[in-house]
């Protein structure tokens, strides 16, 4: 349907149907088409899932734009290519979707594609003095020595646009002015949950602007993947968002299975679903602990960890790992569940239900916590969609975006569960979404745990897995939002490009919108409720 709309505007749009449907549009028409799709009456493509930079070699540099309609759930992938490698230019879509502001910076950083009229063309993960663009296929690995000097962050940023005669012109934009009192929150800070740095401009206790500086634990996982075979790439997914380790790996396995046409046994599907939900409880318990600690309550912090430890024990018994589990495999799971698994999970859920009231007594209903969370850091539904804040953050703003409901995978269309949606959009709603999801996950597990069918836990696969050519995607709902895998295969045993949608990047980007006018203490609490994990942002 969308394809017809595009072809009606530009008949020359190329459509490739290997794997996912990808519509190639000319770069100069990209903005016009994007605008048409966004402003469509009955099916607006208002959620930009991701922008995936690509180096197609001969064909040129470019990007895939993954779009989704929040109303119907329809999805489409646009492809825009620029053949000029020296002066790669694409029009920005950041005026249509706010999330493009940060996603385009990522593409610029890795591929050197300059987005015209983007107000902030700075590098995002790499140092400002980095030479070259590392994700290009012709990047020289030795072009950057290990720099031990300090990185100075510029207070100015560049914007590029084309003059009517076709020449490029630059302009400087101000990030922080002379009279800004800029405080560094991070990279070494007790409550940024990792090495995140937020340059925060303050007015007394009030926040004027936040500029996140990322990349302190950037490991180049996407680049590494390009030289790893498909089974090997699995080992790195657990290390993205370590609190959604199982779900990340689930997404990649699903993508490869879809591409290779592997049927996953039902027993494995059951195990995967149960593990996903246990992982979600694990993550949300940690969320509770960290949020409470960020707000200065050190005692409830241990409550969350006490129960989380039980989940980790259950994980370890079956998968052999606590944080990094390495459990999903292409075609199934690594090992069958441990004989005590079912009983332990049932005991755990019973225990959790009995102690969860303590959590609420000591924190949720507390007057201090209430006043610090309610009405603070409000994110409107429109902003949540435009910024791409998926997961609990989006659902707290009234955006029903649960991938498990809207694009079911594994067994989620067979189990009964509610999608938790709040409409307030404040910190308290974000907190309650997660607390309610813990109970909902318990509910899902209880439906499955006694009905795991007998049979194989892993399908037989070829020793060397090669995928057909094409673009393949899969998406799962991880503990903190929609996690997408975008895989471009050229028929080899290694991926040509493997991209992960970071669940945390849009959330960090949203910090500026959410925190303006709030207090420093709120900044920390909002950061806690947005619930981002840094290794997932930096990748």
């Amino acid at each position: 349907m969308e394809i017809e709309k595009i072809t009606s505007i530009i008949p020359e749009a190329e459509i490739s149907q290997t794997g996912e449907t990808v519509v190639k549009v000319p770069a100069e028409k990209l903005h016009q088409i994007a605008e048409t799709l966004l402003n469509d009456k009955e099916n607006p493509m208002d959620f930009l899932r991701d922008i995936v930079g690509m180096d197609w070699g001969e064909e040129g540099l470019g990007a895939l734009y993954l779009l989704e309609s929040t109303r119907t759930g329809a999805r489409i992938i646009l492809k825009a290519v620029t053949a000029d490698r020296e002066k790669a230019l694409l029009p920005t879509v950041s005026d249509l979707w706010k999330t493009a502001l940060i996603k385009e910076r990522e593409v610029y950083d890795f591929f050197g594609i300059c987005f015209l009229n983007h107000p902030d063309m700075r590098r995002i993960f790499l140092r400002e003095d980095w030479i070259g663009y590392p994700m290009r296929k012709d990047y020289d690995m030795n072009s950057n020595p290990l720099r031990m000097d300090n990185e100075e962050n510029a207070d100015m940023t560049d914007e590029y646009f084309l003059r009517p005669d076709g020449t490029l012109e630059g302009r400087k934009n101000v990030v922080f002015g002379e009279d800004d009192f800029v405080v560094n929150i991070g990279p070494q800070h007790p409550s940024t949950h990792g090495v995140l740095r937020m340059r925060t401009s303050l007015d007394g206790e009030n926040i004027r602007k936040i500029d996140p500086i990322l990349g302190y634990i950037h490991r180049g996982i996407e680049k590494m993947n390009e030289s790893l075979t498909y089974p090997q790439t699995l080992a790195l997914t657990d290390r993205l968002d370590y609190l959604s380790a199982h779900q990340n790996r689930h997404a990649l396995c699903m993508c490869i299975e879809k591409a290779a046409g592997i049927e996953v046994p039902e027993r494995a599907q059951y195990i995967r679903t149960i593990m996903d939900e246990l992982q979600r409880i694990d993550s949300h318990l940690l969320f509770y602990s960290c949020l409470v600690m960020d707000m200065g309550g050190l005692t409830p912090f241990f409550y969350g960890f006490r129960e989380r430890e039980m989940i980790l024990d259950i994980f370890e018994e079956t998968t052999g790992g606590r944080l990094i589990q390495n459990y999903n495999m292409i075609g199934g799971v690594q090992a069958d569940i441990h004989p005590t698994f079912q009983q332990k999970v049932k005991d755990f859920i019973k225990h959790l239900r009995s102690v969860i009231q303590d959590y609420h007594n000591i924190f949720t209903s507390n007057v201090i916590a209430d006043t610090r969370l309610k009405g603070v850091g409000v994110l409107s539904k429109e902003d949540a969609i435009s910024l791409g804040c998926t997961g609990g953050t989006g659902r707290a703003s009234g955006w029903a975006n649960d991938v498990r409901k809207h694009h079911p995978y594994a067994l989620y269309n067979k189990v009964d569960f509610k999608e938790i949606v709040y409409t307030e959009g404040d910190s308290f709603a974000r907190y309650m979404v997660r607390m309610d999801e813990i109970m909902e996950s318990c509910h899902i597990i209880e439906q499955l745990i006694d009905n795991i069918p007998e049979g194989e836990f892993r399908a037989k696969t070829k020793p060397i897995i090669k995928l057909p050519e094409g673009v393949f995607t899969s998406s799962v709902e991880t503990s903190r939002g929609e996690f997408d895998v975008v895989l471009e295969s050229h028929g080899d045993k290694v991926p040509y490009r493997l991209h992960y949608r970071s669940t945390g990047l849009p959330l960090v980007h949203a910090m500026d919108t959410v925190c303006r006018g709030a207090k420093i203490a709120d900044l920390i609490a909002i950061g806690g409720t947005l619930d981002f994990v840094i290794p997932d942002i930096d990748r």
Binding site: E205, M295, G296
Partner: protein, 363 residues
């Protein structure tokens, strides 16, 4: 007649008379002053160690943990002394762009305020160190020096975190001093004296909290909350606010300079509890229940300082319980709590107490 078993003043008088007989009076006074000074410092350090140990154990128990249990046997009794030794050996870092004099002065101001207040506590009958007829007034005045140290520490460190911490602390302590002052005033109205010893002795036939019933209990609660804020402890620890400002006003301090802030924090906790004991729970007075003379006799055999320390530690535990339960308040909430809730309430309580006193409604 009761309480005289453990009255220290005759003994101290004898010592003084003896010293005067062997040396000139000025020398005797100097000597006594020195001994008392050393005694205060030693008490201060020992109490700090006990309090830190207690805090670690109590906080651990609230958090389903065991707490220190390796250094010095199963109870971990030597953990804190070991930490003290460690902190003594640590380097005191001097910052390049700080105001060196104020930077070095600040921790001493904090500890000075703390020691001055500490010296006013009535340990036993005849066991007070600083005795003056406006004792409680002096306590309030001396404890206010501490905030100066905190402000100076934050300012002179030349760091944004410390500055924010110091300004927060200034705003908070100055506000909460009002409530403390008013609740102390309430009790002064009730006892009719500002001399700490007189206040304690006035409670011989029943502690103030019982004698003053409703207004006294309310003043007690107000005092505990405001005192907790005054001591910069959770949920009012936003001057340090680890999660926001890493360590607030003492971020840039190291070694024993930091140690001073740390010691002062714990001793201020003790002092807050000690003053509360003095004003509300009868100081070193034993518990007496009218009509049960046998019990009262037994109670009298327990020395006064045991009563005082016991009651004080009970309040310390109460404050720790509060600290390890609640999340931290935000700066505007802290001020709202004071100006919208505590201050009006303490004014009402003061009025109520005055009315009660005038109409003889206190026991």
């Amino acid at each position: 007649m009761f309480l005289d078993y453990y009255n220290l003043s005759p003994l101290l008088m004898q010592i003084h008379a003896f010293l005067c007989s062997v040396m000139p009076e000025w020398l005797a006074l100097t000597l006594e002053g020195l001994v008392v000074g050393v005694f205060i410092l030693v008490m201060y350090a020992v109490l700090a160690i006990i309090l830190i140990y207690m805090e670690r154990k109590v906080c651990a128990a609230f958090q389903c943990r065991i707490g220190p249990n390796r250094v010095g046997g199963k109870g971990g009794l030597l953990q804190v002394p070991a930490d003290v030794l460690k902190i003594l050996t640590k380097e005191i870092i001097s910052l390049k762009h700080s105001d060196h004099f104020l930077y070095a002065l600040a921790p001493f101001l904090v500890i000075l305020a703390s020691i001055l207040t500490f010296s006013c506590l009535p340990w036993n009958k005849g066991g007070e160190i600083l005795h003056m007829n406006i004792g409680i007034f002096f306590v309030l005045a001396a404890s206010s020096i501490g905030v100066l140290g905190i402000l100076l520490a934050g300012w002179s460190s030349n760091s944004k975190y410390t500055l924010i911490g110091a300004v927060r602390s200034g705003a908070m302590i100055i506000s909460y001093e009002l409530s403390i002052g008013l609740s102390v005033l309430t009790m002064v109205v009730m006892s009719g004296a500002m001399d700490i010893q007189t206040i304690v002795e006035g409670q011989a036939n029943g502690w103030n909290i019982f004698k003053g019933h409703i207004p006294a209990i309310m003043a007690f609660i107000i005092y505990l909350i405001a005192g907790n804020a005054e001591a910069n402890r959770g949920p009012f620890d936003l001057a340090e606010a680890e999660q926001e400002l890493t360590a607030g006003y003492h971020t840039e301090y190291s070694g024993m300079h930091f140690g001073f802030f740390y010691l002062a924090e714990y001793l201020n906790l003790f002092i807050t509890a000690g003053i509360a004991t003095t004003l509300f729970l009868g100081g070193w007075m034993p518990l007496h229940i009218a009509g049960l003379d046998g019990l009262n006799m037994v109670m009298d055999y327990i020395p006064g300082f045991v009563w005082f320390i016991g009651k004080t530690f009970f309040i310390v535990f109460l404050l720790m319980w509060i600290r390890w339960t609640f999340p931290r308040l935000r700066i505007d909430q802290v001020l709202t709590l004071e100006w919208k809730y505590l201050m009006p309430l303490s004014l009402v309580v003061l009025l109520l107490m005055t009315v009660c006193k005038v109409f003889g409604l206190t026991f």
